[in-house]
Subunit: 298 residues, 4 copies
Amino acid sequence: MKTAFLGLGTMGAPMARNLVAGGVDLTVWNRSRQTVDSLCEAGAHAADSPEAAVADADVVFSILADDAVSEKVVVESGALARMKRGAIHVNMATVSVPFAQRMAALHAEHGVQYVAAPVMGRADVAAAAKLNILAAGDDHAIETVTPLLENMGQKVWPVGASAEMANVVKIQVNFMLAVAIESMGEACALGEVYGIETGKFLDIVTNTLFACLGYQSYARLIRESRYKPANMPATLGNKDVGLALSAANDRQVPLPLGGVLRDSLNEIIANGDGDKDWGALAEYAAKRARIDRSRERS
Amino acid sequence: MKTAFLGLGTMGAPMARNLVAGGVDLTVWNRSRQTVDSLCEAGAHAADSPEAAVADADVVFSILADDAVSEKVVVESGALARMKRGAIHVNMATVSVPFAQRMAALHAEHGVQYVAAPVMGRADVAAAAKLNILAAGDDHAIETVTPLLENMGQKVWPVGASAEMANVVKIQVNFMLAVAIESMGEACALGEVYGIETGKFLDIVTNTLFACLGYQSYARLIRESRYKPANMPATLGNKDVGLALSAANDRQVPLPLGGVLRDSLNEIIANGDGDKDWGALAEYAAKRARIDRSRERS
Amino acid sequence: MKTAFLGLGTMGAPMARNLVAGGVDLTVWNRSRQTVDSLCEAGAHAADSPEAAVADADVVFSILADDAVSEKVVVESGALARMKRGAIHVNMATVSVPFAQRMAALHAEHGVQYVAAPVMGRADVAAAAKLNILAAGDDHAIETVTPLLENMGQKVWPVGASAEMANVVKIQVNFMLAVAIESMGEACALGEVYGIETGKFLDIVTNTLFACLGYQSYARLIRESRYKPANMPATLGNKDVGLALSAANDRQVPLPLGGVLRDSLNEIIANGDGDKDWGALAEYAAKRARIDRSRERS
Amino acid sequence: MKTAFLGLGTMGAPMARNLVAGGVDLTVWNRSRQTVDSLCEAGAHAADSPEAAVADADVVFSILADDAVSEKVVVESGALARMKRGAIHVNMATVSVPFAQRMAALHAEHGVQYVAAPVMGRADVAAAAKLNILAAGDDHAIETVTPLLENMGQKVWPVGASAEMANVVKIQVNFMLAVAIESMGEACALGEVYGIETGKFLDIVTNTLFACLGYQSYARLIRESRYKPANMPATLGNKDVGLALSAANDRQVPLPLGGVLRDSLNEIIANGDGDKDWGALAEYAAKRARIDRSRERS
């Protein structure tokens, strides 16, 4: 079985590498050539264009920045038109619900199966092949690609027959992550004005009620006030919160926590910190109460 | 060493029982007699009044409903006045910050040590002696009572020398718990309008990013729409969120998530559901989007 | 000078009528024929298509439902392509900022001046020619159309040289209106639980600190719990709040009151009341506190 | 008829002066002597203590800072105990609902009528005798004091038979005022990033939909970024918003706009601007979007 991979960014590169490591026959394309070369050394084939990459593939993976880039690389480049009838395209990016719906329809027109398979986990998790992968689309197509996906993640979670359902779940999850950060941020600010040291407090909660990855990974950033380099920059985080808010608004679901997140992320970006990790939600919760955590640490 | 225990409610009863089971010499008092008898069968001594209970005690534990009841049972009853000089009073209730400060001062006047030791965990956790216990106050006093506390919990977390600091941490933790519930509630409502079944979604998140007690215990309630009988009724939850908001307001800490929680809990109570567990935050998040989860399950 | 008018809805019809009454030579087009006939009796000329209506016009007015309808009627119909070079198109609808920018550019390509002139005031105000008209675009073009606009309104407010600036102001104003309604709604709910009758309270505030149209017109609806027929249905109101939120988000302006409005409007729509006037924000503020104002009145 | 006046602060002094100007026989007391002297020159009598001031009075007016000061000056000083049976005490301060209820009960025990009569209007309005005065309590007592109150205000608004009802209305009104400020603040911030000058925008809205005192008086502050000296310092404003939030919470009324106000006022105070007028809500709405209005003006 021949496969292709479009988009070798922070997430895509380690994921593609794990496919190759699993013995998968993989042709890769990326906008910048550097990562392509490094993957070829590991055993992948290089392609000069998205079109060329997908031409012979039975299964095409892609993980691109957002709706616009996905549109460009998959559709406008001519790649989709070039895919074989009966091929399966597994889109692993976090895209909007309407875009997922439109892509599914477009692929159907071309006789290509469309599986949405966004992932949970950051770059280090991707490198360790420990991603959790959400998958939605045709049952049979998901079944076909599951063994491939298992090279990249610890578990594949089928979530429904309509492709966009996987994107909805991803949007829900990211919303919950952002809330968890904001929650730690506000709680720490409250504690500090009463002398509760943030590091000690986070130690307690992430070893008891919140002893889980979602909290532990961001507690680390908060404890050290270390928001750069960002795994998830505030600008991207705001895009994701925006996906949740607009999915909610499209079907009239009130989302009060979402409003709090969006306002705070916009404040972060407006104040020049859009390139900080969205863990900086905690920094701004403290800042509003005029707590300067970085100073305390010195 | 002689000890006493005031308040054998849902939490106090199993905690006292674990002290007795640990071989501690314990005299108990409770407003209603029934639980007292049951503890005496297990080996505790009964007292007819708070005063009588504490008279000979080296260490007095209490876990009473709120500030008002604590004041009544500990101070107004004459119990504090009756405690031995040098005795240690370990108050395990969730009380307000100003109340904790006032109690510490009052105890100092009477030559009694005051340790605040609120607990994390619900009744079943208390029964299993798996509580996490936050402790603040004089170092030496904490050291003295730690072996006793270890009969009731899996770990004692010292958080500071001022008694109220343990109450602050408890308030921070409960705030984070309420946010976690609201977060699941909003995320599930968002998912359902796109066909994501709440049970399946909660399965995914509580086995991946949020694989921790704080989320798992409430996910169970939400999945089954089972908010009665309540472990933490909305009314009590609102009191706790109120403690966070007022502690924050007293020292000018903005707490936007706190406002969302308070509004939703008040809506729950105003609509006659104050006796439901505060997990019902999720029910109301769904209700506002007109999702009737209980109907779907039938 | 020849003029045309596209869109004779609740607002457009009385506005066009006032132009005719002012002696202006006006050709009108509307999707449904009925209003056209009635205007012709008043002295207007009828056109069978947008294209036909604008063909000879020096100034074209339009007030259409939203971005999509404006696009369809003005651009896709071929009307813009048909306008005379040097003609002025005065778009009086409430449209989004990016749409206004795109329209301005598109008109420039066709050699047509584009003036954005959204209005403040409801249908009865339009009928009385008492609208306040915001105008943005080329100075000279605004000057040219001002005498015409004065047939429809009491005052023309020039707000800037870029067309979208008038739309921004209109979006700001509608945001403030929605906040004013929500503010009355929450205040009345608070009062009622202490026995303050809503009618009496609104009487006091709309005759003292808030003795202005924005408050008085909605106080009337709230006092009588009369939200149908709607002047501004909740669905349309939510669209307008959405314009504010997205304009704000595009340039990173936190808008906490906007989140409150959007959540409440979505709750209204989700619960089947999308056709009620957005004054129903007050009904839902009361409902959340389980105050049934309509019952009290019976 | 003999009257007394306790508390000659920013509001009390001009109000007392208007009583004297109306020919009322008035004995005044104030914590600091200076204003007393100035009023004596105008024709009032001086008293050395609250007790002495009220001894012979048929009607006692007071307007003191808050619950605590009112308690001290009226109750603890012995003044209430010294009032004549059948006298009427008109409390014109903004106090909390529970305090008003307790005061009414306490006065009843002493055989003194208690009328709550908080006022709407700032110091300049008080000086011009243009206050709007809310009055609640016994009908007959209100009738008796109305001619006296008319020396201080343009209108007396009776709002109910229970004294606290006037305080509720005052709390509702101040809540609405704060919302109006925040609303202008957010709208202006939104406008500025699109080039809409704040002064021009406020001109439009305060001459059209919001042509009323509540908006106009704060628009002036916002336009000039002039928040000192404060008529209503942010600290005091936060106290008033707190009265609304706690009155709402006591009877389970969700108040989402209240949460927004409280968070923003706390941010203002935490950042050292608690002595600025609460009009600074607008400054902080701009600051969060990194708009520096004061710089623009220079």
